[in-house]
Structures are given as structure tokens and as C-alpha cells.
Symmetry: C2
Subunit: 342 residues, 2 copies
């Protein structure tokens, strides 16, 4: 199995990316990696071990795409960037099955949608991040922003693809799928949501449990939330933003008085666990579901462990032939849809 | 000035509702109130003061609509409920200028949209709650769920109505208006957002500062966020839900160990301020902007002070003739739109 690593664009690149790849190489004996980035610094990070020599390839592409770059411009103008070079390699080389990046999300998703094919039957790939829930579990959100003008059929595809992803990679049997809506009753929401509800209810192979209000995202009652990319983006970023702002405020307030600092000292290990709990990179990367090849986007702040976690996701998906299973499941779901005159 | 108070449906009804009305009567000498609810308990809460006699009217409507009731069913079937009776009174009586309720949001908004007229020029009323920001300021969100199938023109109307509301009631000059989007660049988002951006930029009388990503809602950089009712609902409920779940988790973790409890004891007053800070009822009720008469929805958990705060909002809007100003501003904005061939 051969996996490309985009070694630039993250806060800790290239050390975290190369470090994560080395951890994965140690773990998976049949793994080979292609490290794409500024070749000099990348090569310096590779230990001088003859056993590794045949398993690591490097490709020189020193340009960096940042969150400030407009994705469509970046794709057109930054052809020497590690991100675009990685996508190009992923497209061209049949021996490569996956790409891991900690770079700019917008450019990665846009380039992947433009340049990488889709699994047969998939209308459009969807971005699927995972967040921690308050009971120590996780919840996946699909789509979190790959497509903002979504059609009814896509919501069903998100449910099918996301369910397979969660059961394969997170080992959850029969993941509970909810539709993001403004109320729990079946007739709530706009036209799209009112039509999606019965369709999701009758889709075979998924465990649809109804509408979810956004305030219940972290409750642990759901494994997968399907939504259009616009409201999914709002859902994920509001959760992250609120948590971050609250922890920041708490910290500021603690430092405002000696007595509070003393109190916080007694709770130091607890606060550290709290912070670790809210650290999204502990929960793996976001996957672009529906793309012909596996693409995992790690958090920008990923360290080597977080990148290794992305490898774990990619390897599990590849070994389980998740994309093949998605094609089969979509065919089955579609057949059902036709019978039901949807 | 005469204001109706729906005295049922809140967690602390009718005591909080009647108590809030009494506080407002003490504050505003020219105020009269109509208390709608279960007349027996309501009357028991009114002090035996002859000066108040002429200023308080009661109407018997003992039915309660809860969040469990489907709004459309509730409107049709619960005609004896305090909420529906209040809406009926608001519609019928020309001497009444506002309604304050702490009851079921869905039913209130639906009944108001069906039964109360709109300000001239308004396409559809919008719900506008206010949240606290991390720098001690507030941010308003319009629309948070009154209309999920929104047209381009409505987003502009939300900006105009919301700006007037914030400047009148919160005393902010030239409130900073942002468009909720999945990125800050002008070309981000779906078709609706890409068309709204230039239109908002050229609308006279508002201070449009560009797109806002949802993670920046609490940053204090914006006074008003305009959005469709679906994503606005997601924005508000995700913020509330995340804050609530985090505080709940923190509390649970503190109680898990004696040492943490000791630490928390040293920070008791800080945590209490934190809790008070996150208590949404401290920031006033949500207003249904665009309705012909003023409607303020207080939080379900409102106490008498929170209801009094809703009165303050309603009185300020009425004294400033906010609805008249909205009609004028919409006419001005529309004229501009025509000239610009929008």
C-alpha cells in the first residue's frame, strides 16, 4: 500500500508530517510512502536506515498554499505547491491509494473535486470531520462544506457513505444517522429537509433515527449527522469556535486573580484533560468521502501522532475496500429509490 | 402604552411574567398591561394597590402550549391557550402595541406570522435573538428560524431591520453587519450568499462589513449577523448547546475529585459570574422583526427581571417608533435597489 503525504501547509510541517509517516511505516510493514514537499528539509528528517530506503520516495514541490490563498487561484497558480503536486501524483499514479494532508482545507477539497475522480454513482464528494461528544464518544458530520448547493439525493448518499465510513473506521455497528434540522418532528425545516426525511427513512442499509437539532450535536445520541455543506460548515465551526472562545475566556479570568490561579493549580490535571478532550486532532482527520482515492485532511495543528492517526484511518479504509463498498451500497440504495419512485 | 403579557408557557410562569409586568409598571408611569393566562393564579399575584387597578387588565385563557406541541396544530386546536389568546388580542385591539411571551417559540412565531400583519414593505418577519460576546458586548442574529426558504431580498431586509433594532434598543451607532458564510472572501458560499454580498455592500443606511465565519460569532467583531433561518437556527442553537454541554462537563469533572472541588471553591465567585455571563436571559428577549406590532419572546427560563428586560425592549422600540422607521428605511433601501438594477 502506497500513501502520499503532503509535507507542507500545517503548523508543524514538515516535521509532523514526516514524523507521522515514520510512525506509520513502523506500524504497517506493507506500507510505502511518498513524501511531497521541500525535498531538502524533508530528507533531513528521514533517518539513515537502509530498511526504510525502499519504502520512502520523495518528490520536490516546495510551494505552500495557505488559508489566505483563494482555492481556485491556488490551484491555477501554485502548481509547484506540495498540495497541488500531491493531488497531481494521486491522480496520475495507479499504485497510490491515498493522500494525507495537513494543508489548506479549501484548496485541498477544491483540487480533489476538480482533479480526482469520483466513486461510481457518487454525485459529489463530501467532507466528513469527526468531533468528540460529551460522553467520550464521537460524532461525524457530513457534509461540512464541500458542496453548499446540495440536491436531495446527495443527503442520502452522505448517509450511506458516512455510515460505511463510521462502521469501518470507528468500529461502530449500525451507526445512528440523523438529519440536521431546526426541530425534531418529521415535517420540520425547509423543502429539502421535509423531502429528505422520508427518503432517509426508507433507505436500506442505514440506521436513520430522525432529525437532530444542532444543540444536541455533542449529546452522544448520534454517530453521524447529514446536512448540506453550508449548514454543516456552520455546525462544525460554531462548535469549535464556541468551545475555543469559552476556554480562552476561562483562562483569562483565572489569570485575573491570585486566588483563582491557586484554585486552578489544584485542578491542573483536570484542565489539561479538558484541553486534550477538546483537541480535535486526537480524533483523526476529516475524510473526503466519495472521491475515487482516499483523502484524509489532518488538522492544521497536527503533530506526528495526529498524522499517524490519519494514516490509521487511510490504511483501515483501504484494507476494508471502503470505496468499493460505497459503490455497492450506493447501487443498492439507488435501486431501492427507483422501486420507491423517489 | 398598552402591552400584552402571555402569562403561561415559561418555566417560571405565571410568577415571572406577572412579576416582570409589575416591575415594568413601576418603572414606566404611562404603561398599562393586559395579563393573559389562568385568571385565578394571575390575580393572586397582583398586589392590592388601587393605583394599579386601572393599569392592569386580565384575560382568562388557561391553556398552555409547550415545545412538544406541533405549532400548526397548536394554533388550530389550542384556541383557549394564553399564547393564541394573546395573539388574537394583539391583532384585534388597536390600543395595544406589543406582546411579551416566554412560551413556545415555534408556536409564537408561527401564530404571529399567520395572524399579525407585516410592516409595509416587509416580505416576511424574522426572528432576532441576541447572544453575549466574549468581550462583554452582544451580537444579534437575524433570522434565527422564522423562515427557512429565504429569498435574496429578505437578507437585505434583515440587515436593515436588524440595524435599526440594534441602534435603537442597544444604543449602538452604525452597527457592524456581517453575512453568515463559510468563508470571509466575497465570492464564498452558495449562489444566495454570492448574490447577497454585493447587494448588502450597496444598501444605504447599513454598515456592512463583509462575510463572517461562524467560528467568529462570539469574537465581538460584529453587532448583527444576517442569515437564512435554517443556518441561523443552527448558529444560535449550536452556540447555546456547546456552551451548555461544556459547562455541564466541567461541573461533572469538578465533582469527580475532592481536590477539584477544593480548587473550584476558591473560584466560586468566578464560576458564578461565568454562569451568569452565559445566562441568555440577561441579554433580553428575541424580537420578531417586521411584524406590524412589537413581539418580544423571552427565554423559557426567564425570571421576573428577564421579563422586565423584555418590557424595556418593547417600550424602547415603541417610543422610538421603530416599526415606522423600519418602513421608511425599507422604502429607501428598495429605491436604491431599483436604481442599481438589482
Amino acid at each position: 500500500m502506497k500513501i502520499i503525504v503532503d509535507c507542507l501547509g500545517g503548523d508543524n510541517s514538515p516535521a509532523a508530517n514526516v514524523g507521522g509517516a515514520l510512525k506509520a511505516l513502523a506500524r504497517y510493514g506493507d506500507l510505502q510512502v511518498i513524501l511531497v514537499g521541500d525535498e531538502g528539509p524533508v530528507k533531513e528528517l528521514i533517518p539513515d536506515d537502509p530498511a526504510l530506503k525502499d519504502r520512502i520516495e520523495t518528490v520536490h514541490a516546495p510551494g505552500v498554499i495557505t488559508g489566505e490563498d483563494k482555492p481556485t487561484d491556488a490551484i491555477r497558480l501554485k502548481k509547484d505547491s506540495s498540495l497541488i503536486a500531491s493531488i497531481r501524483l494521486l491522480r496520475k499514479r495507479d499504485d497510490v491509494s491515498a493522500l494525507i494532508s495537513t494543508g489548506a482545507t479549501g484548496a485541498l477539497v477544491a483540487a480533489a473535486i476538480l482533479r480526482i475522480g469520483r466513486i461510481r454513482g457518487v454525485r459529489r464528494p463530501a467532507f466528513c470531520p469527526v468531533l468528540p461528544t460529551m460522553n467520550g464518544d464521537t460524532v461525524a458530520i457530513c457534509d461540512s462544506g464541500a458542496d453548499t448547493d446540495v440536491a436531495l439525493e446527495q443527503l442520502v448518499q452522505y448517509a450511506v457513505m458516512g455510515s460505511l465510513y463510521i462502521s469501518q473506521v470507528f468500529g461502530k455497528k449500525s451507526p445512528r444517522v440523523a438529519l440536521l434540522n431546526i426541530g425534531t418532528e418529521s415535517e420540520k425545516g425547509d423543502d429539502l429537509r421535509r423531502r429528505a426525511y422520508p427518503l432517509l427513512s426508507s433507505t436500506p442499509g442505514i440506521n436513520f433515527v430522525g432529525n437532530m437539532e444542532s444543540r444536541d450535536l455533542l449529546s452522544g445520541k448520534y454517530d453521524l449527522v447529514v446536512c448540506d455543506g453550508f449548514s454543516g460548515n456552520v455546525l462544525v465551526k460554531t462548535t469549535e469556535g464556541t468551545a475555543l472562545e469559552l476556554l480562552r475566556k476561562l483562562k483569562k479570568d483565572i489569570f485575573s486573580k491570585f486566588r483563582y490561579k491557586l484554585g486552578a493549580l489544584l485542578m491542573k490535571d483536570m484542565f489539561e484533560r479538558e484541553k486534550e478532550f477538546m483537541n480535535y486532532q486526537n480524533y483523526g482527520g476529516s475524510v473526503l468521502l466519495g472521491a475515487e482515492k482516499i483523502i484524509v485532511k489532518g488538522h492544521g495543528s497536527s503533530d506526528a501522532d495526529a498524522v499517524a492517526k490519519c494514516f490509521e484511518q487511510a490504511v483501515t479504509m483501504e484494507k476494508n475496500d471502503m470505496n468499493g463498498k460505497i459503490a455497492d451500497a450506493l447501487r443498492a440504495a439507488e435501486g431501492q429509490g427507483d422501486n420507491g419512485n423517489v
